[in-house]
Chain length 416, copies 2
Amino acid sequence: MDMTEIGKRAKKASGFAALMTTNEKNELLCAAAKALLENADSILTANAEDLKRAEAAGMPAPLMDRLALDRKRIEGMADGLLQIAGLSDPIGETVEMSVLKSGLTVGKRRVPMGVVGIIYEARPNVTSDAFGLCLKSGNAVILKGGSDAICSNKAIVDVFRDTAKSLGANPDIVQLIEDTSREAAAALMKMNGYVDVLIPRGGAGLIKAVVENSTVPVIETGVGNCHIYIDDSADIEMGIRILINAKTQRPGVCNAAESLLVSEKAAESFLPAAVKALVEKNVEVRGCERTMEICGGLPVVPACEEDYGREYLDYIISVKVVKDIDEAIAHIAEYSTGHSEAIITESYKNAEKFTREVDSAAVYVNASTRFTDGNEFGYGAEIGISTQKLHARGPMGLKALTSTKFVIFGNGQIRE
Amino acid sequence: MDMTEIGKRAKKASGFAALMTTNEKNELLCAAAKALLENADSILTANAEDLKRAEAAGMPAPLMDRLALDRKRIEGMADGLLQIAGLSDPIGETVEMSVLKSGLTVGKRRVPMGVVGIIYEARPNVTSDAFGLCLKSGNAVILKGGSDAICSNKAIVDVFRDTAKSLGANPDIVQLIEDTSREAAAALMKMNGYVDVLIPRGGAGLIKAVVENSTVPVIETGVGNCHIYIDDSADIEMGIRILINAKTQRPGVCNAAESLLVSEKAAESFLPAAVKALVEKNVEVRGCERTMEICGGLPVVPACEEDYGREYLDYIISVKVVKDIDEAIAHIAEYSTGHSEAIITESYKNAEKFTREVDSAAVYVNASTRFTDGNEFGYGAEIGISTQKLHARGPMGLKALTSTKFVIFGNGQIRE
C-alpha cells in the first residue's frame, strides 16, 4: 500500500478513535490482550522466522535477545494492554475553564493528538505498547518497526486489526508499514497533514535521522548521558550506594549513570571507596588526572575529553573531580544530553541550587537516576522519555499523546 | 557575527535569563518601555529609512502601513511591555507534585524553554512584543525580522540591549540577526543544540518554509480558513450578526471567517438576508449552485472547489449549502486549517456534537470566531496562535514559552 493511502486511512481512523468511549477502548484493549495469548503460536512462528534471518545475518546476542519472543514475553505484552485498560482515560478532561469579560465561557478540553507515528528498532514489544497507549489516548497509530522484526510485527498487528474488526472498530487505528526500506521511513517523516507527531524510539542514530529529516513535529526521545555529582557534604555511604545502583543495576538503559563528578572537598574520602566498589562490579573507570592521583593503585584508565560526552550503555564510567558545585553544574550544561542528573548532598542550599540550575528532564537530590521511568513516576506505562523541551519532557504517559482544544460557549457575542 | 556565535551567546544568555527573579525581569521590562519612549526619535529616523526603501521598491500600501511607526505606535509598544510586566511570572510554578511508592517526592516545575527563535515579516512591533514575552518567561530570544524592517528592528533591539546592559543584565537575552539573507534564516532553522523552539509569524509562505526546512522544533502559527456553520435551528438574526462580525470587523486577520456553511433546512430563511447583509458590507460572495438558486437576484458569483480552501484575508467569502451538521463537520475536516470554527444553533445536541467532533484549535457555539486571541482569552498578550497540536494549540501566552522539568527529592533511594 502506498504511504499516502496509509496516511489517509490513519487520518480517517483517527476520527473514529477520537470518538470512541472509554468503555469501547477498554473493551478493545482487553480483547486484544486475549487475542495475543490465543494467537501466541502464530506470533512465535513469525518471530522464529525473524530470529532465523537475524542469526544468519550475524546479529549480536543482546540484539537477538531484544528481538526474541517466548510465551512469557507475549504474556507480558498482554498484561501491558490490560494495565493500559486500567489507566484513567485522559480524553475529554477539561483542563481549565473560565468566563471572559465578553461573557464567553472558555474551556480547554483534552483531545487526542490525531495520528501518531512511531519509528522503532527490532523490539516487537514496542508494537504492542504503542498500540495500547495510542488507542487509550484516542489516537490512530502508524508503526514503522525495524526490518529485523517485520514478521513478528506483522503477526502482532494482524491480531490487533482482526480484534478491532471483530468489535466493529475501524482496523486502521493501527497500521504497520510493511515496506521496510529507508524510503518508506523518509516518506513517513514528510507526511504533514496526515501525521500529527512522530516519536522515534531507539538508538542515537535513529533519533538523529528522524530529527534531521522530519517535517512532521517530532518528540525526541531517550539518549541519556546521566551524571551523579557528589557534593562537599555528601553522605559517602549513600553516595556509593546510589552510584552503584545508577551505573550497574541495568547499564544498557538511558537512565543509567554514565559520568561521575566529585567535588574536590569530597574527593579524597569518596573516590577510593567508590572506585573500589565500581571495580568490584566489573565497571571500567575512566578518570581525570586528579582521580588517578587519588586512586593510585586502583585500576583507573585515563579519560579523554570525548569520554565525558559518551553514553556508554555498558559497564564503563567517566569520573572527574571538580572544584565545586558551580563547576559541576557547568560541566553538566556542557556534556549532558538533558536526561537525568543527581546530586548527593546534605546541604539544603546546594540541593536547591542544583535543582534550579541544572536544565535536564529529571533532576534528583539523593536518589538514583534509574527512577526516570513512566511506571516509577506513576504514569502506568510510557511511550518513551522525551529529552526535548517542546510538548513533553521526561517520561511520557498517556497525556503526552494528547493535545487540547478551546471550546467556547456564547449567546451571540461579537467582537467590538 | 556568524550564526554559531549568535547561538552560543543566546544559549549562555538563556542561562542568565532563566535565573532572573520576577522583580529583575519586571524592572528590565519597565526600563525598556521607558527607553523606547526616550529613544523614539532615533527609532523613527531608522523607520523612515526603511519606509523610504520600501516606497522605492513599490511596497503595497497595507504592508507599508504595517511597517510604519509613529510616536503613538511606539507608545503602544512601550505599553505592551508594561502590560507584560504586570502579568504573573510563569517560571518556578510547580505544576504537579506527589509522593511515589518509592518514597520519592516528584514535582513538575515550570521552567523556561531556553532559546526561542522568532522569524517574522516587516512588523517592527513584533520585535518589541517578542522581546517582552520571551524575557518574562525567562528565555533568550533570537529575532530574524524581514529585511524591509531591518533599520527599525536594529534601532529597537539596540534600545533593549542598552537597557539590559545598564541594569547589569546579559544583553544577549535579545539578539537580532542583522544578516537578512535567506541563508541566515536557513541557518537559524538548523541550530539544534542552540535553539529550543522556532516560531514563525507571518504569511502562509513563510510558515510553510519554516515547517519544511527546520530541524529545530517548530510551533506552526496562524493560517486561518475559519468557518461559520448555520445549523437547522439557528437564530437567524444572531447568525447574521455573528457572520458579519466574523467576516468584516477585521478581514485581514487569521481569525476572520472565510467560509459560510448553511444547513439545507435553514438555507431559505437565512441565506437571502445574510447575503444581502454581506453585500451591503462590500463582501464578494462566492456561492455553491444551491446558494445561487436561493439568492436569485443578489450578486453571488459561482464558487469553485478551490474557494473552499482559501484564506482570503479580504472582503470575500465562500458559501455552501450542506445537507446537515454531519456534512458541515465533514466539510470542515476537509478544508479547514484547524484554527477557529463556529456553529450557530439553538440545539443542545448539535452544539455538543459540533464541539466534540470539530478538530480545530477553537470551536465556538453562538459566538464570533474573532475572539480567538490571546488578549481576549485573558493571556494578556500573545506570541502567536498555534494551529498545530504539539505543545501549544490556539492563542499562545507566556506559558506556551515554557517547559517543565521533574525535580525529585529522595533520601538515598535506589531502584530495586
